[in-house]
Amino acid sequence: MTLYLNKDTICAISSGGGMSAIALIRLSGDKSINVINKIFSKKINPEDSHSVHFGIIKENNNILDEVVVTVFAKNKSFTREETVEISCHGSEFIQKKILELLITQGVRIANPGEFTMRAFQNGKIDLSQAESIADLIESDHHASHKNAIQQLRGGFKKKLENLRTNLIDFASLIELELDFSEEDVEFANRDKLKELLTNIKYEVTNLITSFKLGNVIKNGIPVAIIGSPNVGKSTLLNTLLNDEKAIVSDIAGTTRDAIEDELIIEGQKFRFIDTAGLRETNDKIEKIGIKKSIQKVSESKIIIHLIDGTKNINQQIKNIDNLNFNNNEIVIRVINKEDLKGKNIIEDNNYLHISALKNTGIDKLKNKLISFYKSQKSSNNDTIITNVRHYNELKNTLTEINAIIEGLKNNTSSDFLTINIRQALFHLGSITGEVNTDDLLANIFGKFCIGK
């Protein structure tokens, strides 16, 4: 837990949890406006208190969401710090994406009651109000202890503990050669240290990657529906969702934006993304839509490639394969327009035949989706983190580990490496429990014969 004395910039979802149409993300701290200016489509002036701005949140030039941003200048907000409120769409996915983006900009997830705490510290509220924060901190502490490492899923817990042990061992080896260089013990050479560190990095990276997957399962597995224009993608989506969400028409290129919606199949949430038809085009707006489609596709875990059964099937497959999507995704080839008989029907078990319009074969498709989910889950379920805070700390740990690796490469003296090692232990320790000098010394004394 970060001490409330730190005045870094913090953020949190301020609207209630769960699904809602609109969610509110609040930032407080002296970098709030600086950060929002980096990710928001409009330039915000710090002096412009109580102003409201409509625009787009971008991540590497990709649009995350259309939002409304409200700005409060220093001394004019609840916390008396520079504050920015982002009203975004209510999808959990979007909320988490925006939080992740803020974290990469150096913003920290707020602790419970931290906004109120700052209001108190900056003289906005009185002690009796602040005492309720004390209780909040306490109850969260208990809750987080309950949810702490022992409550985590078996595999994840084991991996974290493993990582912690390895990092402590590494730190001990470094401290050993510093404090006990005069002792008659065997010191690890640099190659050994590099090897140890490479393992540690691998473990951290894996955990970070699993975080992304964990979110995916919680927020819905993204499924992209792709295909040439007018093969019936929007119709399929509508049939799946039983809803008129996408604009359906015969005019090729009607769907210009990626449309998302969620469907729960056998208890698992899938997030369907309808994409603009993928084809060569000169229409500027459609081009943007296609580019976005490709982006969406590469973020999804499953691709439904919809093929128009009335047209040249091989050509359609070739067109899509030429786009070279990330190989990790699972591609389900689905031939549509089964109802329009007599046109190029392929008898091949690798293809599903459906009619999106007449709602035939849709159950087969759903079964296929759920079986893919199950196979994926079994290979990954033990290393899933769903907590953004853990994710944040693991990323911080990784940054320090990279710095140590760099240091080893440059032959940096161990005493300098320990600066990063201590930071890494600090970040990891906030998930797994604190590591202090006494732990390192105990580890050294337990493993090495120290003492003349």
Partner: protein
């Protein structure tokens, strides 16, 4: 009988802590009395004849920078000097000296005798006179009552000392000296809690019976840097140490004595240090290790007595001797004195304030092994802090406290009073959060001004420091603005395996390269001239080089130290009522009530106090 004189400070015990305490208080102007059971053993090195080493060397430099004596005495009695860890970064460079034990004692006594504010008295103190929760004198075994404003206890291993050797044990404070009784009981009656610790020492050997040809020689450094900032050291001819090893055969013999070992039979209850185990402990705990290193260290220039470092033991004498004679080079060895273990009382240091004054009794100070520490340097620096604060108290002046980012001394005392210790506490560099800042080369920059402010560090020291800082700045500025031509520097760069440059560059840019050091830059004539013309001293050159070469790291550490100090700056009133806090854990509440941290920073280091407890505390401190 009652002595007529009333003293400002009485120092009980004249070891490393006692000497430093007496010297500091007296230098500051207090009238001081040193009481020791035996005035012939002032400043005795009861264990190995060496000062300094990793982390300890840094402490000695800090003592010196503040105006203490231990470093100067060490320099005067050094017979071998080494700068340890020279291959690592500057924070790890650690001076270490072998000393002439007798000379060390003589020099300390001379220094104390030279100070007219110090009186001496030989007797054993049995009681501290306490009135209204305030120490105001001592009573001796011979019934003498002596009055004072403050009392500093530095009893070492003497409090109920019990010496173990094989299956025998007897009361004693050190080999051949009686234990001190009475004080422990009185302190317990006053409400102090106490514990038991154990330490040990190896046998001393007859150097004439050692075959050095079978051992490895360990020479001292040719360049003797010394410990004191005040003056250059000249040690004359350097004496070597020698290295030999135990063997399986030696271990087998030692095992024969295990049934009589006070360690393994449970007769010793005190906890010994894990980092300084006895030889029997090493054999048991690291049974896979076939040999252990032993250092043959001379006890002085004029004696044949040898200290066998690494062979601390409390096994029976006959087993010690039999095993030793199986060690390479020691086949015909004779014993001067056998090794032994000693158990003694200590008082968990969480009962102290930062000034080393006890929380229970005003004007009563503890330092050294009574606080659960081990080591001459650890003891001496506590003596210095207690000596200063006893004086400050008499004069009704502010406490003198060093923070964790000021000095290892600050780390040590903060650790002691906040965390306490179960095993003898020794300093390691890893205990410091900011070891890059706490270097042996900059102790004067960190501390001399502070020492001067209270009147301990002399004007001469301060002048020297100011000159050093001035020279360092001059040189740094010069290195940052002076260019060097490509053809001149490239020759050096090629030779050192560093990438060449294609246009002239400022001198300082090359210093950040790992392969290049200051001496390589001396190919620059303007630099050579500048250093000579401005009479830039060696220490200033070193300082400028470190600051440029490691500036990035140093700044990073300084930044985090600043953050830490923010927490130190949030004070907790001494009478703060923790009972009224509902939102912190019971364990934290108990610890906080007991330790009474004086800042949020200290509270955060108490084990059992969680960050969420600290956040709650912050609220109540109005932050």
């Amino acid at each position: 009988m009652e002595l007529e004189e009333k003293y400002d400070v009485i120092v009980v015990g004249a070891g490393h802590a006692g000497c430093e305490a007496a010297h500091c208080a007296a230098t500051l102007g207090s009238k001081v009395l040193i009481i020791s059971q035996n005035l012939e053993t002032i400043a005795r090195m009861s264990c190995n004849p060496a000062m300094g080493g990793i982390a300890k060397g840094q402490i000695l430099r800090e003592i010196d920078a503040l105006g203490g004596m231990s470093a100067i005495i060490t320099d005067k009695s050094t017979i071998q000097f080494r700068m340890l860890n020279k291959s690592k970064g500057p924070a790890m460079w650690s001076p270490r000296a072998q000393c002439d034990r007798k000379l060390f004692e003589r020099e300390w006594r001379k220094a104390l005798e030279k100070n007219t504010n110090i009186d001496f008295y030989q007797d054993s103190v049995e009681q501290v006179i306490v009135e209204e929760k305030k120490a105001c004198g001592v009573k001796t075994k011979m019934g003498v009552k002596i009055n004072a404003s403050s009392v500093i206890l530095c009893n070492g291993t003497f409090l109920n000392g019990l010496i173990h050797l094989g299956d025998k044990n007897y009361k004693g404070g050190r080999s051949g000296e009686p234990a001190a009784e009475g004080i422990t009981k009185q302190l317990i009656d006053l409400g102090f809690t106490h514990g038991r610790m154990k330490t040990g020492t190896p046998p001393r050997l007859d150097g004439r019976t050692i075959d050095y040809s079978k051992t490895e020689e360990q020479k001292g450094d040719e360049k003797v840097v010394g410990f004191s900032y005040k003056e250059k050291t000249n040690i004359g001819e350097s004496k070597s140490c020698f290295i030999t090893y135990t063997s399986k055969e030696v271990h087998e013999i030692l095992k024969e004595g295990f049934e009589k070992s006070p360690m393994f039979t449970g007769r010793i209850q005190g906890l010994g240090p894990r980092y300084c185990p006895s030889i029997e402990d090493k054999i048991v705990r690291f049974s896979e290790k076939e040999r252990h290193q032993l250092f043959i260290e001379p006890e002085g220039r004029e004696t044949i007595e040898i200290y066998l470092n690494g062979f601390s033991t409390s096994l029976p004498e006959d087993v010690q001797l039999k095993a030793l004679r199986k060690v390479k080079g020691l086949e015909k060895v004779k014993l001067f004195r056998a090794g032994y273990a000693i158990e003694y009382d200590y008082f968990p240091p969480t009962q102290l304030k930062n000034s080393l004054e006890t929380k229970l009794i005003n004007n009563l100070f503890f330092c050294g092994q009574i606080n659960g520490t081990t080591g001459y340097e650890e003891a001496a620096c506590q003596g210095l802090i207690a000596g200063i604060n006893a004086h400050q108290k008499t004069e009704k002046k502010d406490e003198f406290i060093l923070s964790r980012s000021d000095a290892y001394i600050g780390v040590l005392i903060d650790d002691l009073i906040i965390k306490g210790t179960d095993e003898p506490y020794r300093m390691f560099t890893s205990r410091a959060e900011y070891r890059l800042l706490l270097r042996q080369d900059n102790a004067d920059i960190r501390l001399t001004q502070k020492g001067h402010n209270i009147g301990l560090a002399s004007d001469e020291r301060l002048k020297k420091l100011k000159r050093k800082i001035e020279e360092t700045n001059l040189l740094t500025t010069f290195l940052k603005k002076q260019n060097i031509e490509t053809d001149i520097i490239n020759k050096v760069l090629i030779e050192k395996g560093s990438a060449t440059v294609d246009q002239k560059k400022k001198l300082h840019t090359f210093l950040s390269r790992p392969q290049i050091n200051y001496n390589d830059l001396l190919v620059s004539k303007p630099l050579r001239d500048f250093v000579i013309n401005n009479k830039i001293g060696e220490e200033s050159i070193e300082q400028a080089e470190i600051e440029i070469k490691y500036g990035g790291y140093l700044n990073k550490e300084a930044e985090s130290a600043k953050r830490l100090n923010k927490l130190e700056g949030v004070r907790i009133p001494n009478d703060f009522n923790y009972e009224k806090l509902h939102s912190i854990s019971t364990e934290a509440k108990e610890k906080l009530k007991q330790i009474k941290p004086n800042s949020i920073g200290q509270a955060s280091r108490i084990s059992g106090v969680s960050p969420s407890d600290i956040n709650v505390l912050l609220i109540y401190m109005g932050r």
